[in-house]
Symmetry: none
Subunit: 197 residues, 4 copies
DNA sequence: CATGAATGAGCATTCATTCAT
DNA sequence: TATGAATGAATGCTCATTCAT
C-alpha cells in the first residue's frame, strides 16, 4: 500500500545536499552561504532542504559528524597493520592528499567563523579528538616498538603531529606555491625529525 | 572654539573603535559581530561608528592593515641586530607570546569566515606576505652567516617556519592543554630542527 | 477486489478527519493548526488528508456545515413537541451542555480568527442564522401560545436569547469559576426574565 | 551635543503603530495580519516597526495592556461618583458605545485566535479581570446602597453583567440588524432585570 | 486508495547604513 | 562632530499543497 521510504535514496539525497553545502560553505563561509545558494547548488527547492535538515546549522554539524565517522572508519581500517611507523607515514600521506582538495581549507576556515556556537565548538572538538586519538594510538605503538623517541608522551607527540599537519594544510591554503607536490617530501622529513627527536 | 579637527583625537578615537571591534570580532566572529555590539563595546553611537569607518568591513580591513604595519615596524626595529639566528629566535618568542593573547585566535578564526570577500582575502594575503618577508630576510641572513641549512631556499624555509608557527597557534587555540608555557621549549626545538635540517 | 468505493467507509473516514481537525483547531486555533498536526491526530498521511478535503479551509467549512446540519436535525427532532416554552427550555439546556464541551469554546475562538475569509464569514453567518431560525420558530409559537411577552418581535427575542446564550458560553470559556453547574439555574432564570419581560 | 530622544514623539509614534495594528488585526485576524500590512497601514518601513516593538506579538500585548490601563483610568475617573446604580448605567452606556466601534469586535475575535500563546492568554485574563473588578466594585456599592438585589454575590452579578455586555457585543458584530441604536434600550432593560432579580 | 517526498510562496525578523538634527 | 531614529534588502524557515508511486 503505502509507498515505503527508500532509505537508500534518502541517504543519497542527504549526502548530495551535504556535498553542495560543503562547496558553498567553502566558497563563502558559513554565514555567507545562504540556504538559497546551497539549494541552488544542490538543485533542490528550499523546502526540500529543510525536509532533510532541521536548520542550516544542522548541515554543518552533519558534515563535521561525517568527518568523525571517516576518521573512525580509517582507524578501524588501519587496525590490522603491524608496522606503526608505516601507519604514521600513511596518515601523513593522507593529510597531504587532503591538502589538495580545494574545498577542505575553505571549509575549515568557514567553520572557524561559527565557533561561537557551542554545538559547533563541541563538534569541532570531537573531530579534533578523533584525529588526535588515531595519531596517539599509533604513536604509542611506535614508541613501544622502539621506532620513535619516547621522551615525549604519546599525547604530546600526537599534538605535535597535528601542529605539523594542520600548519601544512593552512599554508597550502594560503600560498599557491606551497603545494603537496612540491613540499610533500619536506613534510615527511619534518615529521621524521619530530618523531625521532 | 576648537572646531578645527584634531587629527590626534581623530586617530585615537579610530583606534578605540578598532580595539572594540577586535574584541567583538574575536568573541562572535565577523558576521556574528553586529555593528551595534561594536558600538556598545566602544561606548559610542552607531552614527559615530560610520563617521569613522565607511562600512563594517572597513574596520576589519583596518585591523588587518594595522597588522601589516606592526610587522613592518617590527622589521625596522630588528634591522640593527647582528645575529640572524637570535632574531629568528626572537620572532619565535613573539609568536609564542601571541598564542597567549586570547583575542588573537578568535580574531583569526573570525577573519577566516570572511575569506570569500576578495578585499579581505587580499588583505590577509598581504599580512601573510609581510610576515613571510620578515622571516625570509633573516632566514637568508642566517644562511649567509652559515648558521642554518642552505639546502632549502630562504622562501621555502620561511614558509616552513610559518607552518610551525601557524600550526602552533592553531593547536593552542584548539586544545586547552597545549599552551605556550608547556610547549614553548618544544616549539623552539622544532624550529631548531627545521633550521638545522 | 473491492475496488468499488465504499461510500460508507468514505464518509466515516471524512468524519474521523473532521473530528481530529476539530480537536486541533480548538487546541491551537485555525492558523496554529498545521495540516501536519491534524494528520498526526487523525493517524493519516498528509496525502490522505488532501484526498478527502480540497484545502485546510474546507475542513473548517465542513465542520461549520455539520453544525448547521445538526441544528437543522435538532429542529426536525423538536418539531413534534407541543409546549413551546418547554422547547425553549430544552434549547437552553443544550446550550448549557455545550458550554461544558471543552473543545467547543476553543473552536469558536479558532474560527473567529479566520473571519477575514469571506467564505468562513458566510458559513458562520449561516450557522448563526440556523440557530436564530430555530429559536425564532419556538419563540413565535410561545408568543402565539401566550406563554411569553409579545412586545418584542420573535426575531428580536430570538436575538436576545442568543445574546444570553452566547454571552454565557463566552464567560464560561473566560472564567474557570463560571460553570454550567454553578450558573445553570441563573441562566434559566435570566432567560425566564427575558421572555417574560 | 547628542540628539536627545523626544519621549513625546516616541510615544506618539508607538501609538500610531498600535492603531494601525489594531486596524489590521481587526480586519484579518492576528495571523492573517502580516507585519508588512501593518507597516503599510502605518506608513512606516518594516525596520521601524521592529524599532518600536520586539515582535509582532508584542504589539498585540501592548494593545491589551492599553485596554487594561484604559479600564483602570476609567475606574479612577468614576471613583468620585456617589450613585452606584448610575455608574453601572454609565458602564452599560460605554459598552453600547464600544459596540459601535467597528474594529473592536474584529479585534476581540482576532485575539481569540491567539489564545494558545500563554502570554496572550494571561493578558486577556488580566483585561477581563480589570473589567470584572470595576463592575464588582460598583455592584457591591449598589448592593450596600440597597439599590439592587443581594441574593447573588457581587462577583457573580459582575460576571452576569459581563455575560450581557459581552453577549451584546458579540451579537452586534454578528448581526447587522442588531445595533446599539435599536437595541440599546433593551440592553438597559435587560441589565435592569438582572440587577433587580 | 493511500502515501509522504518535494515544492516554493510567504513570513517574521535582523542589521548595516543613512541622514536630519 | 556626534547621535540614534528610520530604513528596507536580505535571510532562515514554515507549511499548505501536489504528484509519482
Amino acid at each position: 500500500m503505502a509507498r515505503t521510504i527508500d532509505p537508500e535514496r534518502h541517504r543519497a539525497r542527504r549526502l548530495h545536499i551535504i556535498d553542495a553545502a560543503l562547496t558553498v560553505f567553502a566558497e563563502r563561509g558559513y554565514t555567507g552561504a545562504t540556504t538559497a545558494a546551497i539549494c541552488r547548488e544542490a538543485g533542490i527547492g528550499s523546502g526540500t532542504f529543510f525536509h532533510y535538515f532541521e536548520t542550516k546549522k544542522s548541515v554543518l554539524l552533519a558534515i563535521l559528524e561525517l568527518g568523525i565517522e571517516e576518521t573512525q572508519q580509517l582507524a578501524r581500517d588501519l587496525e590490522s597493520h603491524t608496522d606503526p611507523l608505516a601507519v604514521l607515514g600513511e596518515l601523513v600521506d593522507r593529510a597531504l592528499a587532503d591538502s589538495t582538495e580545494p574545498r577542505l581549507a575553505g571549509f575549515v576556515l568557514a567553520v572557524g567563523g561559527v565557533m561561537g556556537e557551542p554545538e559547533v565548538a563541541r563538534a569541532l572538538a570531537a573531530d579534533d579528538a578523533a584525529q588526535h586519538a588515531l595519531l596517539r594510538t599509533w604513536v604509542a605503538r611506535a614508541q613501544r616498538a622502539g621506532q620513535i623517541r619516547t621522551d615525549l608522551s604519546p599525547e604530546r607527540l600526537a599534538s605535535w603531529m597535528q601542529v605539523l599537519l594542520g600548519g601544512f594544510l593552512e599554508r597550502a591554503a594560503a600560498d599557491a606555491e606551497f603545494t603537496a607536490a612540491r613540499e610533500g617530501d619536506e613534510l615527511r622529513a619534518a615529521v621524521d625529525r619530530l618523531l625521532r627527536g
